[in-house]
């Protein structure tokens, strides 16, 4: 870099735009490689509010952008504040949701292709996916910031319920859709077990960690399905009215227990 710098006159004409295009080109070319002259130009800037633009730039870069899921929730009517709290749970990060859909899809595919065996697979998998996702949306192992979260004024019950509803809003239509693919006659049959298990996990989480509860429920269910499959050929046993009524009762009772014991949600419990 040579010692040559722009004289004040040339700079002034440049900033005021009273120079010729040729002069301007010369100034601009010089500015590209001269830090000192750039420093002389900067204070003269009044064409934009540099501080305001900085504020907007900083926000764009620093403030976390709402995820697709969050925007969906907002569109569904949830206040921005709540939408963000719900969407931020690990369970709702992109990767997670994709894997959930993949699992369901795989099971549906198996059912559609493999017939009887496939149906059993779908019957085994579909009802437990929602409760696993719900559990992971507020389990301390997966939600490592539980302790500071717990002692905030935001009601934990509300947070858990909102996250559960969000999961159900996503998972149930998915289960339904795949259920249609598999067992066209009774697509709703898969829903009540799924809801039932979610309620059981909610209730159990007032005693033990939600993920443990979900894994226990899933294991029991898988065992039941396996036993049924070994005994009879058709999975329809589950879909009968009596079984469905049973699931409904399970859901109602569990949810009742959950509400009765809700104070256990607001403080640390032994499993923590």
């Amino acid at each position: 870099m040579t010692g040559w710098h722009l004289d004040d006159d040339a700079l002034r004409r440049y900033v005021e735009r009273t120079d010729s295009l040729a002069e301007g080109a010369s100034v601009e070319q010089h500015l590209l490689s001269c830090e000192q002259c750039r420093g002389r130009v900067n204070p003269a800037v009044d064409v934009i509010d540099l501080a305001a633009v900085w504020g907007r730039t900083r926000d764009t870069v620093e403030v976390p952008r709402p995820s697709v899921f969050e925007r969906l929730l907002r569109a569904a009517g949830l206040p921005a504040h709540d939408a963000r709290l719900v969407a931020v749970a690990s369970a709702f990060r992109g990767g997670w949701l994709v894997s959930v859909v993949a699992v369901l899809g795989f099971a549906a595919l198996a059912a559609a292709v493999g017939h009887a065996r496939g149906m059993w697979l779908f019957l085994a998998v579909a009802p437990i996916v929602p409760c696993l996702v719900v559990a992971s949306s507020y389990d301390p192992w997966l939600d490592p910031a539980l302790e500071p979260e717990l002692v905030t004024p935001y009601p934990m019950l509300r947070l858990i319920l909102l996250r559960t509803i969000a999961v159900l809003a996503l998972a149930l239509p998915a289960v339904l859709l795949f259920g249609l693919v598999v067992h066209g006659e009774a697509p709703f049959a898969w829903l009540l077990p799924a809801v039932g298990f979610v309620a059981v996990v909610l209730a159990a989480s007032t005693w033990v960690s939600p993920l443990r509860a979900a894994i226990a429920v899933s294991t029991v269910w898988l065992a039941v399905v396996w036993l049924l499959a070994a005994r009879s050929g058709s999975p329809d046993a589950v879909l009968q009215a009596r079984a469905q009524a049973g699931f409904l009762a399970l859901a109602a009772a569990s949810f009742g227990i959950f509400l009765v014991r809700r104070r256990w949600l607001h403080q640390l419990r032994p499993w923590r």
Partner: protein
């Protein structure tokens, strides 16, 4: 404005067969209160109790005049509370700003502009104003600890409970944090537990020493240090009459003992000396039948 206060009356906490805390009676007012004690003494349990994260199994806790067992009052306490737990995990992929912003949401900062300004303010307080967009997983241990501290400082709470806030934080930053905490302690109750006696010495006027779930000492730091007056001396060899002795950087041995001695080279006691003296004494008087936690 009412002065912040916390009081505990004969508080105890049991976990199954283990008694973590027993017979705790405390009255806390604004200022910085240090909590010392060996691992397993019940410091974390006590802090969780103060932070309303755990209920006591015996006794009464009253924070800011409110009862944490009553849900509405507990929420009222939590609006004025900041808590830094001993271990904190961060959700994957979060930046410092995103994490503190998330906690701010839980602390009812609903308006985005005000919330973002507050997030930047607390990040500035802990010395991380320029690392908002950095992923927490990419930060050093000390930086992560400071991010965790930042969330506790949101809203300038009247009650600030800090479990080992300076772990892994380098000495320069510790000094900055001490200044910040001292400022907050003008109107707020700051209770911090630490293994660094020099933090307590530099920052706290009052210190509580816990041991096996009970309070061994509760009073001014100066008085505790005073208990070790005349009981700390230097020698070329470790003195068998001392309770504790160790080799210092100069090659000589620092000895701390219970018997006042005249014929040795005395030195000014530090808080650490006084603490060791206290601990050494209590080890002899172990009550029978009480399981340690």
């Amino acid at each position: 404005m009412v002065t912040a206060s916390i009081s505990l009356r004969d508080v105890g906490r049991t976990f199954g067969a283990t008694r973590a805390l027993a017979g705790i009676g405390l009255d806390l007012k604004p200022g910085v209160i240090g909590l010392l004690g060996p691992n397993g003494a019940g410091k974390t349990t006590l802090l969780r109790l103060l932070a309303t994260a755990l209920p006591p199994t015996q006794g009464q806790v009253s924070v800011l005049g409110l009862d944490p067992q009553v849900p509405a009052e507990r929420t009222g306490i939590r609006r004025q509370l900041g808590y830094l737990p001993q271990e904190i995990g961060f959700p994957r992929g979060f930046t410092a700003f995103a994490f503190v912003d998330y906690i701010a949401l839980l602390k009812e900062w609903t308006e985005p502009a005000a919330r973002h300004a507050e997030v930047r303010r607390v990040l500035g307080l802990v010395g991380l104003p320029d690392l908002g967009p950095k992923r927490i997983r990419a930060m050093s241990g000390g930086q992560r600890r400071r991010v965790a501290l930042a969330q506790a400082l949101l809203g300038s709470p009247l009650v600030l409970i800090l479990d080992e806030p300076t772990t892994g934080v380098d000495p320069e930053q510790r000094v900055t944090l001490r200044t910040v905490l001292a400022e907050i302690a003008r109107t707020s109750i700051v209770v911090l537990s630490t293994h660094q006696t020099e933090d307590v010495a530099a920052l706290c006027e009052r210190v509580i020493v816990l041991d096996r779930g009970r309070i061994r000492y509760d009073g001014p730091v100066t008085d505790l240090v005073g208990q070790a007056a005349g009981r700390v001396w230097l020698a070329d060899e470790p003195d068998p009459a001392a309770k504790v002795s160790w080799r210092t950087g100069t090659g000589r041995y620092r000895n701390v003992g219970t018997r006042l001695r005249d014929d040795v080279e005395h030195v000014e006691p530090s808080l650490e000396d006084a603490y060791l003296l206290l601990r050494g004494g209590s080890a002899e008087n172990e009550p029978a039948g009480e399981a340690a936690s």
